[in-house]
């Protein structure tokens, strides 16, 4: 994968990207291994919770309630955060957010000098808006400090998972990236060993130097607490905690969907999130901070703290009653790990930093349905995602709803003329609206496929090639030809012979019972021969 950012406005269709990735057996092996490991860990820690379903229900209700009153809770957050010494900024879209953050970073330097570096905590929201690129363009280099994000950054790669962004890389590959790309004065990484300890040591050396030197940090947020104006980040490594406590300036970028009403709501989220995300009972590091410490001069934490509240199409999603539950997502990634489609392709096929089932519903909506229309179809609707979602987002339902939006786009105006699928499905729909037409279509179908069937060794006819878009089926599968007799024809013939039998029974002709029985059997046999 090249260093090009995952951008839904330019990404190829899911089908096309998936085809390429399916050819990368190393990547598929890595993705399969990692998703299986996390799935098993999750299953273990979820099974030990007797009230897991109640927790999911509580999570869903908190999210639902918050979304219903989002305007209220956002302004409450702004008020309380400001009172605690934070500065709240509102960004209507990605461009707006990028400009605000770049401006704040520039202003954060000592003596009016713009810093040339920032340290960053892993944040999907900043990935969503391609913030690093914007910072780079302004002469500011962003160091990713999350281990996985660091691997991605040094490898000129892109995140493939919302919790474990480098899940598609194995340890040997990571070692190679570190050996090749890690540069630090006075340290030689070229002889780096391959154990987890070696890799962690190298990352620690590399990152500590940044933590101690760089004075401005950029983060995302897992939750915003309206009641207190607090911001919360959960993580596993402690590198986030370094970024939150050491720099003088902290800038946190959060989607407006990240708010929860009260501090106590975190009680539910802190149980749901780690178990779903990494299969841990608790996150190793749960940081919650409220404004800045004004009381002492030498205390922990930043002297200046900004929150950028970003909309970027979230209000539009909220306006759609049937898909607004997309905003309930707490970014645990459980749906990705459980998804049999994601397990095959990994995340890059989705052409967005949000991959997997949640990406398939979130990305097209963030694009306001102008891009990423292939994503709602990147699912077999198996429902595994819904089953594991900690806040009970019915992803299959939303996928179907978005498919409807895509079909409406494809059927509007002249679009319909260039889309054989739309024409075919609309025609088939008419067929089902009349029993007579349906019967005729069954007959025509049988005639149409007649030249395509070939007898196999058992004398049964199968089709091994189909034209046009149906050809996807016969790439790896055969299709049994239609039997000569449909079920309804059999049932009717049977009914007739049974009726005859009953009539004869009434007339007292005992032998007719057997005759009638044989007739029904014969009909049955005839149908059997058709197969």
């Amino acid at each position: 994968m090249s260093g090009e950012a995952l951008d839904p406005t330019t990404a190829p269709k899911f089908q096309v990207a998936a085809k390429t990735l399916l050819g990368d057996s190393q990547l598929r092996k890595n993705v399969r291994h990692a998703t299986k490991v996390i799935q098993a860990k999750r299953a273990r820690v979820v099974a030990e919770m007797p009230d897991w379903q109640d927790l999911r229900e509580a999570g869903q209700q908190i999210r639902q309630h918050t979304m219903r009153h989002l305007d209220f809770y956002l302004t409450e957050f702004e008020r309380n955060c400001t009172a605690a010494g934070g500065v709240v900024h509102w960004a209507k879209d990605a461009e707006d957010a990028r400009q605000i953050v770049v401006g704040l970073v520039k202003a954060s330097g000592a003596n009016g000098q713009s810093p040339t570096e920032v340290i960053k905590i892993k944040s999907m929201t900043t990935e969503e808006i391609q913030l690093n690129k914007a910072l780079e363009a302004a002469g500011i280099h962003a160091y990713e400090t999350d281990l996985a994000e660091l691997i991605i950054q040094l490898g000129h790669d892109q995140p493939s998972h919302i919790v474990v962004p480098a899940l598609h890389k194995n340890r040997a590959q990571i070692r190679e990236i570190f050996r090749r790309e890690m540069k630090l004065p006075g340290v030689d990484f070229s002889e780096l060993g391959g154990t987890p300890q070696d890799l962690a040591d190298a990352a620690r050396k590399f990152l500590r130097e940044k933590f101690l030197r760089v004075k401005t940090a950029v983060s995302g947020a897992n939750f915003l607490v309206a009641e207190t104006g607090s911001v919360c980040i959960v993580e596993s490594e402690g590198n986030g905690r370094m970024c939150l406590t050491l720099p003088d300036t902290l800038i946190s970028v959060a989607g407006i969907d990240k708010v929860v009403p009260t501090y106590q709501d975190l009680e539910v989220m802190f149980q749901l999130l780690p178990r779903s995300a990494t299969g841990e009972r608790m996150n190793p590091y749960n940081s919650i901070w409220t404004g800045v410490d004004k009381s002492s001069s030498g205390g922990d934490g930043p002297r200046t703290f900004h929150v950028v509240l970003m909309d970027n199409a979230r209000t539009e999603i909220l306006a759609d009653v049937e898909s607004r539950q997309t905003l309930h997502c707490i970014r645990c990634g459980a749906c990705q790990n459980s998804c049999p489609v994601y397990q095959q392709t990994g995340g890059h096929a989705y052409g967005s930093v949000y991959a997997g089932p949640i990406g398939a519903i979130l990305t097209p909506q963030l694009m306001e349905m102008h891009h990423a229309q292939s994503l709602p179809y990147a699912s077999s609707l198996c429902g595994a995602c819904y089953e594991v979602c900690p806040v009970k987002i019915n992803i299959p339902e939303v996928l179907i709803h978005l498919r409807n939006k895509v079909v409406k786009q494809q059927s509007s105006g002249l679009n319909i003329l260039v889309n054989p699928e739309v024409l075919a499905l609309k025609a088939v729909a008419k067929v089902f609206q009349s029993e007579t037409v349906f019967r005729a279509a069954q007959k025509i179908g049988r005639l149409a496929e007649l030249p395509l069937g070939h007898k196999d060794g058992q004398g049964e006819a199968w089709i091994d090639w189909l034209p046009g878009m149906l050809g996807g089926w016969t790439q790896v599968r055969d299709l049994h030809v239609m039997p000569k007799q449909t079920f309804r024809q059999w049932f009717e013939a049977r009914g007739k012979s049974a009726a005859g039998r009953r009539a004869r029974d009434m007339a007292g002709d005992g032998t007719a019972i057997h005759a009638g029985g044989r007739a029904a059997d014969a009909v049955e046999k005839g149908a059997g021969d058709g197969r």
Partner: protein, 246 residues
């Protein structure tokens, strides 16, 4: 009991043997089966592919055909899931109060075939004989939408002569997904190859399930690869008797 059979459009056209087997099992158990002739399709393919407006008229058709039924039985987990999961919403969309009431009255009487046997009739042993090595494929809609759980397995365990062997990753999707198999043929194939490997690892002679759409997909690959393993709907196993043709 008088049972109305909703055969579903693809079983009617492609898998009539499954319908015959359902009739045979239910009649053997002493029930009467009728077949409302005006039935066509539940609307699943259209609804799930995004053609919701096209699916809507099929709701009224279904209700019209089956509203007088004592029980409706259908040998397809995904079609029954379609009805349970979406018919109430479809009635809502149509803003038809009468239809809404009828749907609410009718849906509790609609049963997937195995569910009807295990839950409505409380049966496990239906007197079947099938002396073959068989593995069971749990279709996603049966598992996660209808929650039929191990019902089909219990029915199978009671079959005389059967050598039932469980497949690895039972709950993993086979990759069919309706139009997904066509629109995302490559990913579907990749998922399918895992399922096929699972089936072959059981060394079963036949793979069974409660949804012929998954079985058509798995069976299509089993045939292409000349494995000799045969897909067979659960109803057809349950219809087999000692001394019968199978």
């Amino acid at each position: 009991m008088r049972v109305s059979l909703f055969i579903t459009c693809y079983n009617d056209t492609l898998f009539p043997d499954t319908g015959k087997a359902v009739v045979r099992v239910l009649e053997r158990l002493g029930h009467t089966v009728d077949f409302p002739a005006g039935q066509t399709c539940c609307g699943q393919m259209h609804w799930n592919t995004g053609y919701q407006e096209e699916a809507l008229p099929l709701l009224s058709r279904f209700v019209e055909q089956f509203k007088g039924s004592e029980a409706v039985v259908s040998p397809s987990t995904s079609c029954v899931a379609m009805m349970r999961d979406h018919y109430p919403l479809m009635a809502e969309r149509l803003k038809d109060e009468k239809l809404k009431t009828e749907v609410a009255k009718l849906l509790p009487k609609v049963w997937e075939f195995s569910e009807f046997l295990t839950q409505k009739l409380g049966l496990e042993d239906v007197g079947a004989y099938y002396p073959h090595r068989v593995t069971y494929h749990a279709s996603c809609h049966g598992l996660r939408s209808l929650h039929i759980g191990d019902g089909p397995m219990r029915l199978l365990r009671a079959v005389r002569g059967i050598d039932l062997v469980e497949i690895e990753n039972l709950e993993q999707c086979c990759g069919f997904g309706g139009t997904f198999a066509i629109k995302n043929a490559e990913v579907s194939s990749a998922m399918l190859s895992e399922k096929v490997r699972g089936v072959l690892n059981t060394r079963a002679e036949a793979v069974t399930g409660c949804d012929n759409s998954c079985l058509m997909h798995i069976g299509g690959a089993l045939h292409r690869q000349r494995t000799g393993v045969k897909p067979i709907h659960l109803a057809e196993i349950l219809a087999s008797e000692e001394g019968g043709e199978r």
